[in-house]
């Protein structure tokens, strides 16, 4: 069975900064949880941008669900995005809207009938453990809480894949662990998760498959954490 994500011989070259990715190959199966590790500049964000089809690879093919980077048309991109959940290190919430309005926003702009929005938002906030902070503005929430709102928003359109770009990068250890547990819980409900991070300790504890990028190349794909520790230390 082929995966929901299939990356085949993908290279990405930018006119100014050069090769960001070189000959990358991997697959992600339905419902899988995969880490994406590497130092900053290793190509993690570029890879995620290729998966959201914000950019096309210079060579090779990125396939996400039934969408291929070879053939996707600009007007089809929104339909792919609705089936992806995307979370960032900097949360990207709208500062002038409350937690529930931020979540509702994702439903409004994708044309969800108004009558379904409120109950769905309540359910999503409950799922991420923020039911009691629904009417708080982002500046009134802690970093961990803000990321929960962002995750609730990412889940709004029932994605089959959640892409998280360093979601715990701005959080303390406790909040980091809580967000990780939340992502695992979401994964347990059937959503595949690709989580970019450089938190080696988290991967060590998780004993999960991870993809390691170094200078644009995929240098490791597996669960051997010992190797990762050596790699990350060796390059510091």
């Amino acid at each position: 069975m082929s995966g929901i994500v299939r990356v085949t011989n993908v290279s990405k070259e930018y006119p100014r900064s050069g090769m960001a990715l070189r000959g990358v190959n991997f697959e992600i199966a339905k419902g899988e949880f995969v880490f994406l590790v590497g130092h900053s500049g290793a190509g993690k964000s570029t890879l995620l941008r290729l998966l959201t089809m914000a950019e096309r690879p210079t060579t090779g093919e990125v396939r996400v669900s039934s969408f291929s980077s070879f053939s996707i048309k600009p007007r089809e991109i929104p339909h792919l995005r609705r089936r992806l959940g995307i979370v960032f290190q900097d949360f990207r919430l709208l500062p002038d809207r409350t937690a529930e309005q931020n979540v509702a926003f994702a439903l409004e702009v994708t044309g969800t009938p108004a009558s379904q929005i409120a109950p769905k938002v309540a359910r999503l906030l409950l799922q991420v453990g923020l039911a009691s902070r629904a009417t708080a503005y982002p500046h009134e929430l802690s970093g961990g809480e803000q990321q929960r709102v962002a995750i609730a928003r990412a889940l709004a359109n029932d994605p089959f894949l959640l892409l998280a770009d360093e979601p715990t990068g701005n959080l303390d250890d406790r909040a980091t662990h809580a967000i990780y547990l939340l992502l695992r819980e979401i994964n347990a409900r059937g959503t595949a998760v690709l989580m970019a991070t450089h938190d080696v300790a988290m991967i060590e504890r998780a004993q999960q498959r991870f993809l390691e990028l170094d200078k644009g190349e995929l240098v490791f794909d597996g669960t051997d954490v010992l190797r990762l520790r050596a790699d990350m230390r060796g390059r510091k």
Partner: protein, 286 residues
């Protein structure tokens, strides 16, 4: 759609000054345009009035007999371009000259003025070519001594009119361009102010049209309001001029509606061009 309208109102509430500025600049652009339109309209009306008086006069050879006059009048009656024609006897010419040139009344005595035939042409047949053609045909009658029709006068009138039309089109185009640029830059500002929102919209899968619609509505609405304001200002000016200086004509209802619609179209065009360019930019940067 309802969401888009809400966004437009929200944009207005967030930056009321910007919105007012945009509307007034469009209003003034269209106002200047419509002022020129009014001037052109009234020039054309004046020309039409003058044209009505364009006439051809054929002076007859002295001693032309009544039968010959009759023959000439019949010939003229067969010309389809002629509205009416009248015979002016030497006596009535003198009476008229005395009335028109009062100062010289005493000088004018006896029947030294030649008899003539006066022609007025029909609407649409008063262009220089037709006038020239009629004059040429009159000249072929032996009983006609000389034909006068103020050739230069007619041609000059037409040249003025053409020039007015050209100037109107050029100025109109310039003002339209200015309006498009102004609308475009207000849309640009409002897009840049909402970069984050647009980024998130696209992230969660809003369609292109969904992202654009509020800006397009915004531009079209500002254009329409600007158009209404411009018409109101132009009407005010026209009324003022009529009251204090001279009788002027105002646009007809259909022209007024066309002007307002033009405002809407300009607004839409400006926002369309701007939205396309800047949304691409926002998305590239994110």
């Amino acid at each position: 759609m309802r969401l888009a309208l809400r966004e437009v109102l929200l944009a207005f509430r967030r930056a009321p000054l910007l919105a007012v500025l945009a509307v007034t600049t469009i209003a003034f652009s269209l106002y200047a345009f419509s002022l020129f339109g009014l001037v052109a309209l009234n020039i054309r009306q004046a020309l039409r009035d003058i044209e009505d008086r364009v006439e051809i006069r054929a002076f007859l050879v002295e001693g032309t007999r009544d039968a010959q006059v009759e023959e000439l009048m019949q010939g003229i009656g067969n010309m389809p371009q002629v509205a009416d024609a009248g015979y002016v006897s030497p006596d009535s010419a003198l009476v008229r000259a005395r009335a028109e040139l009062e100062e010289f009344r005493d000088v004018m005595e006896g029947s030294f003025l030649p008899a003539s035939v006066e022609l007025r042409l029909k609407d649409g047949s008063r262009d220089p070519e037709t006038v020239k053609e009629i004059a040429r045909r009159l000249q072929t009658y032996p009983q006609v001594e000389e034909v006068r029709y103020g050739r230069e006068w007619v041609e000059k009138l037409y040249r003025i009119r053409n020039l007015a039309g050209l100037a109107g089109s050029v100025l109109g185009a310039v003002f339209a361009l200015v309006s498009v640029i102004i609308i475009g830059s207000t849309i640009r500002m409002s897009i840049l102010a909402r970069t984050r929102e647009i980024e998130i919209m696209r992230l969660v899968g809003a369609t292109n049209m969904f992202v654009r619609l509020p800006y397009l509505l915004d531009g079209a609405l500002k254009g329409l309001v600007g158009g209404v304001l411009a018409v109101a200002l132009a009407w005010g000016t026209s009324t003022l001029v009529t009251r204090s200086l001279l009788e002027t004509r105002f646009f007809e209802t259909s022209q007024v509606l066309l002007g307002i619609a033009a405002g809407g179209v300009l607004g839409l065009l400006g926002s369309w061009l701007s939205v396309g360019r800047h949304l691409r930019q926002v998305w590239r940067d994110s």
